[in-house]
């Protein structure tokens, strides 16, 4: 095992349906938390709806990590049924290790070819001897020993998790864990290797454990969302499911709609009623929402849409990640329809960005689309409690009762005070037809221009402050990226710096409106720019070209999903610039 990874280990647990690889993975990540580590976990499933093979892809480290590593140090296979399905997701190196059950048969060719060292542990047989013992708990024991985790903590965790299932299950799980933890084959193999340098113990402060969807949910309610409308779609469903009881707890509600056309219109209706409102969806659903998003823009009704990107086009690869709805989010509305597009950069940033988006949508009375992706949404992290500060953002400007109220009044800021139903004497009719200041439909050129300018100005002239991008490091080389590629780029940046390169990593959080002056400022002394994105057609690159000027030598690292971009790919591209 590569010593540079000793305090940063990537491991995969695979197994067929029901073998419990995901459960084992989850417990291992929790244990990592209890052992002062940080970590991250992705799940990968075969095509079956349920019960097919599954892989837990885990990274455990002594520092907070925000993306997966390039390759895996260790693969534990509960069995080999269809495990080759995961071969491309679990890149092993010649110095990686495989732990497998000899009873599971031959190791698939895809893994064998590498000449990786294999430790055979009869997990099934060990479990069989234990009442209610399961091989995945043996595996958890093996891995916990390998990682040097505390077995007491593991016991407590098992009690906590399986407690409800009764004595037998809990006891069996504990026993199976111990069988693995103390298995001589592993103990010996471990001893034969350099003990992992535990290095500095991780930050002992509070750790947060959540996935990107939950992060967005939290950001949304922090921002003030109290109504949501929902139509399920992978990988956004669990964000909606997370919101439902929590909105209710906060005195709000979530309504399951008949389709996305309904859900976005419900959001607009609720927001017209004065309640900050949102929905969440993914590409195909966002496509169905663009017409109504135009209505929200034209009628100046705040609305937030979290779009969790997945592989496209069309139904594409719903369970995998890609950064390919940028085009639609930025340009997908008909007519000249200025709105906001934000992209969350990592798990913690899902909270910040969504809260910011809600506040901006409310302040600017427009649509804010938050882009995340399956990578962020459905992987969990174990990180220090995220802290952030948002700039002051005014709340929705509410009209006080006035006679002669003009809903679409031309104001300096471009924001027209909004009357909320219930307010006496300020009744008005919101309209998607072009209108005068009072809201009367109008086809006059002057009214159209005035309202177009107002809707554009309120966004263009707003001071978005320093949150438009997240910038790390300095140097003449810049990596310019967005979304979930940002964490990868940051890790690449750190590695490049460690190797003596001066690299600046710029991740755009605010995509629309664009911030050309701010970026130009950041690029002043930059001579090389690498644009990184997970899209075959280079959507981000074309977006940048449309709104920004680049003088430096600009190149792209763009490729489609489903495999995430790795830090190594970025490092290589920079190192072999020439």
């Amino acid at each position: 095992m590569n010593s540079e990874h000793i305090c940063d280990i990537s491991l995969a647990i695979t197994g067929s349906g029901g073998a419990g690889s995901i459960t084992a993975g989850e417990l291992l990540l929790s244990l990592a938390g209890k052992n002062s580590c940080f970590g991250m976990m992705r799940r990968s499933f075969g095509p079956q709806i349920r019960g097919g093979e599954a892989a837990a892809l885990i990274r455990i480290s002594h520092r907070a990590v925000e993306c997966m590593n390039d390759s895996f140090d260790l693969l534990l296979a509960l069995d080999w049924n269809n495990a080759d399905r995961f071969a491309e997701e679990i890149a092993l190196r010649p110095d990686s290790l495989i732990i497998a059950d000899p009873a599971a048969g031959d190791i698939p060719e895809a893994f064998q070819e590498l000449g990786v060292e294999i430790i055979e542990v009869p997990m099934k047989a060990l479990a069989k001897d234990i009442t209610a013992g399961r091989p995945n708990m043996v595996a958890l024991g093996l891995l916990s020993h390998w990682l040097g985790f505390c077995s007491d903590e593991a016991g407590k965790l098992i009690d906590q998790v399986f407690g409800r299932k009764g004595e037998e299950v809990t006891g069996g799980s504990r026993a199976a864990f111990t069988a693995g933890f103390t298995e001589p084959l592993i103990v010996a193999a471990r001893e034969a290797r350099p003990r992992p340098e535990r290095g500095d113990p991780g930050n002992r402060g509070t750790r947060w454990h959540f996935n990107g969807n939950q992060g967005c949910g939290l950001g949304a309610i922090r921002g003030g969302i109290r109504f949501a409308a929902a139509y399920p779609i992978t990988p956004a469903s669990d964000l909606l499911e997370w919101l439902s009881p929590r909105l209710e707890q906060l005195g709000g509600s979530l309504v399951q709609a008949e389709d996305e056309l309904a859900s976005i219109n419900m959001v607009i209706g609720a927001s017209f009623g004065g309640v900050p409102s949102m929905t969440a969806t993914s590409g195909p659903g966002l496509a169905l929402m663009t017409e109504a998003m135009g209505l929200a823009v034209a009628s100046e009704t705040p609305a937030v849409v979290v779009n969790v990107m997945r592989g496209g086009p069309s139904t594409g690869i719903p369970t995998k990640s890609e950064q390919v709805d940028l085009n639609m989010a930025v340009y997908g509305l008909h007519g000249d329809a200025p709105h906001l597009v934000l992209g969350a950069l990592d798990h913690a940033d899902c909270i910040l960005t969504t809260e910011w988006a809600v506040r901006l949508a409310e302040a600017l009375q427009t649509v804010a689309i938050v882009l995340t992706d399956q990578n962020l949404a459905q992987s969990t992290v174990l990180i220090p409690e995220p802290k952030y500060e948002l700039p002051e953002i005014p709340a929705r400007v509410i009209a006080q009762p006035t006679d002669g109220y003009q809903r679409y009044e031309i104001t300096d800021s471009g924001v027209s005070p909004m009357a909320i139903p219930g307010t006496a004497s300020s009744t008005y009719v919101a309209d998607g037809l072009e209108h005068t200041e009072s809201g009367k439909p109008s086809t006059a050129a002057a009214d159209h221009l005035a309202q177009l300018e107002k809707r554009s100005r309120k966004i263009q002239s707003f001071d978005f402050g320093g949150h438009w991008a997240d910038i790390r490091g300095v140097g003449q080389t810049a990596i310019l990226t967005w979304g979930s590629s940002s964490a990868v780029a940051r890790e690449a940046g750190a590695r490049l710096r460690a190797a003596g390169h001066e690299v600046k990593v710029i991740a755009l959080r605010l995509l629309l409106p664009a911030s050309p002056e701010k970026l130009a400022g950041e690029l002043e002394n930059v001579s090389r720019i690498l644009i990184v994105e997970q899209s075959h057609s280079k959507q981000f690159h074309h977006y940048l070209r449309a709104f920004y000027d680049f003088e430096a030598d600009t190149r792209t690292l763009a490729r489609p999903g489903p495999l995430p971009i790795t830090p190594a790919e970025i490092v290589e591209k920079i190192e072999n610039w020439s």
Binding site: T206, L218, E248, G252, S253, I268, A270, D431, G439
Partner: protein, 278 residues
Amino acid sequence: MDQAAQQIALTPKDFKSALKPVWCPGCGDFAVLNAITKALAFMGLPREEVALISGIGCSSRIAAYTSVYGFHGVHGRALALASGLKAARGDLTVLVAGGDGDGLSIGGNHFIHACRRNMDMTYIIMDNEVYGMTKGQASPTTAPDWADSKLTPHGTGIRPFQPAGLALTAGASFIARGFTGDPNGLAKILVAAIGHKGFSFVQALSPCPTFRPEQMLWKHHVKAFDQEISSNPVEAAQRIQADDGMSTGIIYQNERPVFRPGTGVDNGMGSIESEFTI
């Protein structure tokens, strides 16, 4: 005069806005507007506590001609917009109005789902059996042999929907039909519909003299249902089927649980944030 008394004193005219309707002379929609404003005045509802939501079409322009809160949304989505508003603002009286195309063609899915959901709101389809706004194409209520549209020059050849029947099967808890030739009758129906707890559906036969001039003869065919309001869906279904679609009155009313999401009680964020910590 105290405020309540002041509100009761609102006349139908007070519920009209200053805008001049774009409707053609003779359009039935004027009478729907009159009936709505009459009903609201009669019920003594404060203007600011009423919202009228509409889609797109000649009829959907109606929102702008009233003085209550209004939203002239996009084509076919008025019910969804209204459902969001009502979900978030259960205190408001929510009316929805629009055309047969808006409600039964592009908006058909929201129609059946709104009937099923049974939120407390009133939906008025201003039925002229045609797409007026786009210059006269067949709608889902157009007879199959109406051949005056260039889009379907031999007629649609398709059996029209019976909106009341569809509403009943989909779950509406109040179903009525009115006629713009009898705006007072229509206003009375609207008073009952708005008063009903749950989703009330009113089909307002509203002629389009421009594209369906033959509808000016409707006044000779329209008659009152000769039966009492039914609360039995099977009976109501039979009555709707047996009728030629020209009988007016309240057909069906049967209160059932109203959908009201949330409790309105705020128990605070505390426990939510703590879920994230391990």
